[in-house]
């Protein structure tokens, strides 16, 4: 995405959106959406087809616009992909951990990892913030808002047969 100009991003996005919309449009003709005109006035996928058709048309328009503007155009903002992927990974791991490992174990680690991936320099303050925030949110939501969080391991751990 770095060094990509807006026009080429428009072509790429237009192509991707048109491709997905086309696949979904074709899907609306599958057997599961069989239409019986004796029972229904319009098929259940009649309106989705209109919307998907609109998306396909507009996406093609976006591609054409991109190609027409190929001699000009700003650059997309340059993106630090490594950092974005690290933060995404930390977020996904935290989300998975919230369910499988439990709130108290995973949240401080997730906050710390996200802050570290973003580049916050002081690891001590980051760790303290992670712990305090986890406790504060648990008290605020758990006690005052009566929200329950998973607090136990859900992973199946191997059991010794000795």
């Amino acid at each position: 995405m770095n060094n990509m100009r807006t026009w080429s991003a428009d072509v790429l996005y237009g192509l991707a959106i048109a491709a997905v919309a086309t696949a979904l449009f074709i899907h609306t003709f599958s057997d599961r959406y069989e239409f019986n005109p004796l029972i229904e006035s319009v098929s259940t996928v009649f309106f989705p087809r209109i919307i998907l058709g609109g998306i396909i048309a507009c996406s093609l328009g976006l591609m054409i616009k991109g190609l027409q503007n190929s001699s000009e155009g700003d650059r997309l903002p340059s993106v630090n992909l490594t950092r974005a992927v690290l933060v995404l990974g930390a977020s996904a791991a935290t989300a998975a951990g919230l369910w499988y490992v439990g709130y108290f174990y995973v949240m401080p680690v997730g906050i710390f990892l996200t802050g570290w991936a973003l580049g916050y320099p002081n690891k001590l303050i980051l760790a303290a913030t992670a712990i305090v925030a986890t406790i504060v949110v648990w008290v605020a939501l758990g006690h005052f808002a009566a929200v329950t969080f998973p607090t136990e391991f859900r992973l199946e751990l191997p059991v010794s047969n000795k």
Binding site: H27, S41, T44, I55, L62, V79, T114, L118, G119, F149
Partner: protein
Amino acid sequence: MWEHVLPALASSFSISILLTILIGTIAGIIVGALPGLGTVLGLVMAIPFTIPMDGPMAIALLLSIYVSSIYGGSIAAILINVPGTPQSAASVFDGYPMAQRGDGALALGYATIASFVGGIFSLVVLVFAAPMLARVSLEFGPIETFALLLFALMTVAWVSGKELLKGIIAALIGIFLAMIGTDDMSGYSRFDFGNLFLSAGLTIIPLLIGFFAISEILFQAGTLKDVGAPSVKGGGFKVAPWTEWRRRIGVLLRSCTIGSFIGVLPGTGATAAVFVSYADAKRRAPNPEDFGKGEPSGLIASESANNSVSGGAMVPMLSLGIPGDGSTAVMMGALTLHAVIPGVRLFKDQPDLVTLIFVLLGIANIFMLVIGAFGANVFSRLLKLPITLLMPLVLLMSLVGTFAIRSNPIDLIVALVFGVIGLLARLNRFPPAPIIIGFVLGKQLEFTFRQGLVFTDGNVLGFFQSPIAAVLFGLTGLIVLNLLGLGKLVRRVLKK
């Protein structure tokens, strides 16, 4: 409505409601002041806290965050030259120069009072306009409703400015997402690909959290340049003398009017209002050359306009169930969690609740004024918090908020997926508001369309037999022609 005012006042002045408004106001100002967060994120993060609340308390929290976060953006705009929220983008032009010359406290005084006046002005507009619009819409059948929704969505796309094609695509994608799951009319499950979760349809909260909160975290991660704390110029609160305010009354009232009117238009939002208002104030000023150099009129124009959008945006939301901007779209999603369905039926079936909303909005504005005035120094210090420390906290609230709605881990996956989609959309300037508004309105749009087809025996041309619908379709058509660049051609032909 007026018979419900006293009971609404009585229930609003309970300790629990006032405390909720106080907390919401403080949280809203903080969220607005810290760049990178903003009104929508603040509302999204507040949603899990509203789950165990009753309707009035939840509404009080959301309204106070909504109103105060818009004002909060001016603090960062004035003190660190970075708008805390997009709605305060024009406040940097004159707010920061004022802070640079040592008038930071005065600038904050102007911003706070202008925001308060804007909020109250738009509340008056809301009180009179919303019931009128609701009464008119009682005459609307499915065809008229369909025409109105279509017009609203086209307007949302239209205000995407240069990226209007992307705005249309975004709105259409939002509508499509709403159609995943069970079709309410036929009972068929659509686009679920055999997945039980998808057959239940997507819910709005994980979508909002993913699209706004998680995508913001990823966007910051990808584009962040400076990881340090910003340098804060001044702080405090000081009220300018009455003579200074008196000569700016015209600017104040015009900006409030512009903000309220633009707020009523679906999809426009405060960002458009502030620039229109600022440009208007500069054009009419006896000293336009001073704008951009610390002229208080510029700051007043911006801050009164952005807060007057708050009431204006609630007019279509409350009376028609059409969100006026991204923030009201989030509020609608949150209100439905509490079985409060904005729209014409709300005025008919729950006029006491509508009156309560008006009263709570008024109280929220008063709290914003008082907390803003007394807490200015404290909020200024918060600006020193670096974004790299804030974003992990936003992640915490996002994941917790997503999970808290249904305790369903699938919602976490949805939020993350839409976080990535939101990031890709931001990178290529796809506007986020049309997707959300399309999603919110999508089911209703389809339902009214199909009901209309039943009424007209499947004849689409029959839709034009309704005069109201015909006018709305005509306006929609004009927008489409304009979007296709054919507006000038049509005008030329008409002139001939």
